[in-house]
C-alpha cells in the first residue's frame, strides 16, 4: 500500500493537469469567497520541483511550472514528495491533515511573506483542500 502511495504523482506539478486544477479551484465556491481579496504568488516545492500559483483578485491566473530564479513569489510552502503525498491523502494521517501541524510536527516548511500567508490563510487552506480532492479523482 505504501509503495503505491509513494509512486503517486503530485498532480499540481503535472503539465497535463495544471489547467484543470486551475479551473477547478477557480470554480470552487468557498475558494471564491475566501480568496476575494487575494493577490499573491505562492511557490510550492516538492523535493526540488517547483511551481508558482499566480493569484490575482481571488482568481488563479496561471500555474507556472519550473519557474526560473527570476520569477518572483510572495510566500512558499515546501516539503519532500513523500510528505506531500501523505498531506494529499483523502484522509491524511495525523499532523499531515493540517498545514500548520505538518510544519510544526513534520517536515513541511513555509516562509517568505508569512504575513501574507496568514492574512490569506483561509484561502490557502481551501486551495489545498481542493487540490487534495483533485489528487484522487
Amino acid at each position: 500500500m505504501w509503495e503505491e502511495i509513494f509512486t503517486m504523482k503530485i498532480r499540481f506539478l503535472d503539465p497535463n493537469r495544471v489547467n484543470q486544477i486551475r479551473d477547478y479551484i477557480n470554480s470552487d465556491p468557498e475558494f471564491k469567497l475566501a480568496a476575494k481579496y487575494m493577490s499573491q504568488d505562492i511557490l510550492l516545492q516538492v523535493d526540488e520541483k517547483q511551481c508558482i500559483l499566480k493569484i490575482r483578485d481571488g482568481v488563479i491566473k496561471d500555474i507556472l511550472l519550473n519557474p526560473s530564479p527570476m520569477d518572483q513569489w510572495s510566500f512558499f510552502i515546501k516539503a519532500p514528495e513523500k510528505s506531500w503525498e501523505l498531506f494529499l491523502q483523502p484522509t491524511p494521517p495525523p499532523y499531515f491533515h493540517s498545514l500548520f501541524g505538518a510544519t510544526l510536527r513534520e517536515d513541511f516548511q513555509f516562509g517568505g511573506d508569512v504575513e501574507a500567508m496568514f492574512a490569506h490563510y483561509w484561502a490557502t487552506l481551501r486551495l489545498f483542500a481542493v487540490i487534495r480532492q483533485l489528487q484522487h479523482e
Partner: protein, 282 residues
C-alpha cells in the same frame, strides 16, 4: 411545538485579586458537579453537546464558565484594562476557578478542561487536590512550548486566520459542520485574547518537574488525547500521564484538539466510562 434545550445561563459577580468580574456561565443537569473549562481564545459554548447529553446530565450538574474577557464575560468595569496587555496567568486562572467553584457552593466537583483547560486541570490537581474529586484533562500535557506566536495577535492578520487555523486543528474525520463551529467560535474572540491565553498555555504552564507531586489518592487524574492534535500531541499527553502515579491515559482515535466540540458523538464513547467510574466512587 417550540424546540428548546435544557441549558440555562446566568451572570454572577466574583472578585479576584481585588477586581470584580461579571461572569457568565451555563449549566444543565443535576447531581455531581462537573465544572468545564473552555480552550484558549474560546468560550463555554464549546460544551453545548455535553450539556445536552441526557446520559450525562441525569447524573451530573454540568457547568461551563466563560473566563473573564471570554464569551459573555466582559472585561471588568473597575479597572482600565485597555491600558494593559491581556495575559492569562496561572495564578489568576487557578484563583478564578477556585473562587468560581466556591461562589456556586460546589461540593468537590469534577473538573474537566480542554487544551489550556486540560493544562489547568493538572495545575489544580497539584495545587488544590482537596477541592476536586477528579480532574479530566483533555489534551493536557506538562509543557507545550513554542506556540506563543506573534501572528495570533497582529493588526494585519484578521480573525479569519483564527477561524482557519483552529479549523485545521480538528480531525479531518470529524463532521464538517462541527469543525466549522470550532473555527467560528475562535473568530469571535477579541483580538488579544487567544494569544494572551497562550501565555499560560505555552509559556507559564510547566509541570515537567512537578508531575510526580500530583497525588491521585486525593484527586483522580484522567488524561485524554486526540490523535490528530499537533499542539498537545498524544505522545506529550501520554508521557505526562506516565509520570503521574495512578493517572489514567486514553488516546482517542479520529479526534483532534477539540474533542468535545468537533465530534461529541465519538468523544462521549471515551468520556462516559470515566464519568461512570467517578459516579460509582462518589
Amino acid at each position: 411545538m417550540l424546540k428548546t434545550e435544557a441549558i440555562t445561563g446566568k451572570y454572577i459577580y466574583i472578585t479576584i485579586h481585588d477586581v470584580e468580574y461579571r461572569v457568565y456561565f451555563e449549566e444543565s443537569g443535576e447531581g455531581i458537579p462537573l465544572l468545564c473549562q473552555h480552550t484558549a481564545g474560546s468560550d463555554g459554548r464549546q460544551w453545548r453537546h455535553l450539556m445536552n447529553d441526557k446520559e450525562v446530565t441525569s447524573e451530573f450538574r454540568v457547568i461551563a464558565v466563560d473566563l473573564p474577557y471570554h464569551g459573555r464575560s466582559l472585561p471588568p468595569e473597575s479597572k482600565e484594562w485597555w491600558k494593559e496587555e491581556y495575559k492569562l496567568t496561572k495564578r489568576f486562572f487557578l484563583d478564578f476557578l477556585i473562587e468560581f467553584s466556591h461562589a456556586l457552593d460546589l461540593e468537590r466537583p469534577v473538573f474537566s478542561g480542554c487544551s489550556m483547560g486540560g493544562h489547568i486541570a493538572l495545575d489544580l490537581a497539584l495545587e488544590h487536590p482537596e477541592e476536586f474529586r477528579a480532574v479530566i484533562g483533555l489534551q493536557a500535557a506538562d509543557f507545550t512550548p513554542g506556540l506563543d506566536l506573534i501572528w495570533f495577535d497582529h493588526p494585519r492578520i484578521s480573525a479569519e486566520f483564527k477561524y482557519a487555523n483552529l479549523y485545521e486543528s480538528t480531525a479531518p474525520t470529524s463532521p464538517e459542520k462541527y469543525r466549522r463551529e470550532v473555527g467560528w467560535i475562535y473568530s469571535q474572540s477579541a483580538p488579544p485574547v487567544f494569544r494572551g491565553d497562550l501565555f499560560y498555555y505555552s509559556v507559564e504552564h510547566d509541570l515537567s518537574e512537578k508531575l510526580q507531586q500530583i497525588d491521585t489518592s486525593r484527586v483522580a487524574v484522567y488524561i485524554l488525547a486526540g490523535e490528530y492534535d499537533f499542539a498537545s500531541t498524544p505522545e506529550m499527553c501520554g508521557q505526562t500521564a506516565s509520570k503521574i502515579k495512578g493517572a489514567e491515559f486514553v488516546k482517542m482515535k479520529q479526534l483532534g484538539h477539540f474533542p468535545v466540540t468537533e465530534n461529541y458523538e465519538l468523544f462521549r464513547g471515551y468520556l462516559l466510562p470515566i464519568l461512570k467510574k467517578i459516579s460509582k466512587n462518589r
